[in-house]
């Protein structure tokens, strides 16, 4: 395989990963949109809805929504960095909620893969208010690569267990 076709195949994998992210049932439920997928950075957007609020009487977004957004962005950042569609699993995720998130404004998650080993990916993710770029939350996560189970393929089919 020459370099060009390898590059094309890799970009195809990233496109497939973006589509997969938007098709994940829970990501669809939250309305997560992929804004950018780069080898060094992934950006996801979430537009809040009233059922995402933390309280009936306030318009603050529930922290758990930011948590799900960070987990989704982190997972995609691993695949974007490795450029291979493979099953991954979150090992742990730590969130710091710096400011309350206004329910009227979209969230933007920016995730980067800080380091990659054969088995582990270390991820940082920041969540901003898209309108004023204010930092709302930070996340640190580790993912296990190549977890056992069915292998993903860019054509969406599944193969036997590893």
């Amino acid at each position: 395989m020459n370099d060009l076709s390898r590059r094309l195949q890799r970009s195809h994998i990233v496109t497939a990963a973006s589509q997969l992210t938007e098709q994940v049932p829970h990501a669809r439920d939250l309305g997560i949109q992929v804004v950018l997928v780069d080898q060094d950075q992934v950006r996801l957007r979430l537009t809040p809805q009233s059922w995402m609020f933390a309280q009936e009487d306030t318009k603050e977004i529930c922290t758990s929504i930011l948590y799900s957004l960070a987990d989704s962005a982190g997972g995609l950042a691993v695949i974007a960095r490795v450029r291979e569609l493979m099953p991954i699993a979150t090992l742990d995720l730590r969130m710091d909620y710096l400011r309350p998130a206004n329910g009227g404004l979209s969230l933007l998650a920016v995730a980067t893969c800080r380091h990659l080993t054969d088995q582990i990916a270390f991820i940082d993710c920041d969540i901003f208010c898209e309108a004023d770029s204010e930092l709302l939350a930070t996340a640190k996560a580790t993912f296990m690569r190549n977890t056992h189970g069915q292998q993903f393929h860019s054509d969406g089919l599944k193969k036997n267990s590893v």
């Binding site: 995402m52 699993a89 730590r94």
Partner: protein, 163 residues
């Protein structure tokens, strides 16, 4: 200890558990996202649990299939929140400062349960440890610790004054 003391203690524990159950249910009812996830409170004579019924919108990996890691995180955060609020004498609404979740096993597409243990309940903050499991309680799928900030009474009064 005599038999009557034992049974009296059991009855009072069951009553306490029922009271806590109603308390948690009422608190969850005011959280729109908890309603969206379909969280329910369950209690038996000994403990109070939060039940997350399985729903196809909660799936994160449709090949396995497995629950989204964020859904498990949400179950942990929301359980910690009602546990801390229910424990507070003034039933102040806490704010989640941080949370740290460790994923222990794959979360299958099935009913998930969470129980909370208050590590420390202070006047200003609360640290809650939450464990999640599916079929077998001795095989937890995730555990997490959540730090919550309880608003000071003065700040609450100010808010009342403002509104």
């Amino acid at each position: 200890m005599s038999m009557t003391d034992d049974s009296a203690q059991q009855i009072s524990r069951a009553a306490e558990s029922r009271e806590k159950c109603a308390d948690w249910q009422a608190l969850l009812a005011h959280i729109p996202y908890a309603q969206h996830l379909g969280l329910q409170v369950q209690c038996d004579d000994a403990s109070v649990l939060v039940h997350l019924p399985c729903n196809k919108t909660l799936i994160g990996n449709f090949m396995l299939p497995a629950l989204h890691g964020g859904v498990v995180g949400a179950l942990i955060e929301l359980t910690a929140r009602v546990a801390a609020q229910s424990k507070d004498r003034d039933k102040r609404c806490p704010r989640i400062i941080d949370s740290h979740v460790n994923y222990l096993r794959s979360a299958k597409a099935q009913s998930t349960f969470a129980s909370a243990e208050i590590v420390r309940q202070g006047r200003r903050s609360s640290l809650v440890s939450v464990t999640c499991w599916q079929g077998d309680k001795s095989k937890p799928i995730a555990s997490g610790q959540v730090q919550l900030l309880l608003p000071t009474i003065a700040a609450e009064q100010e808010e009342l004054h403002d509104s």
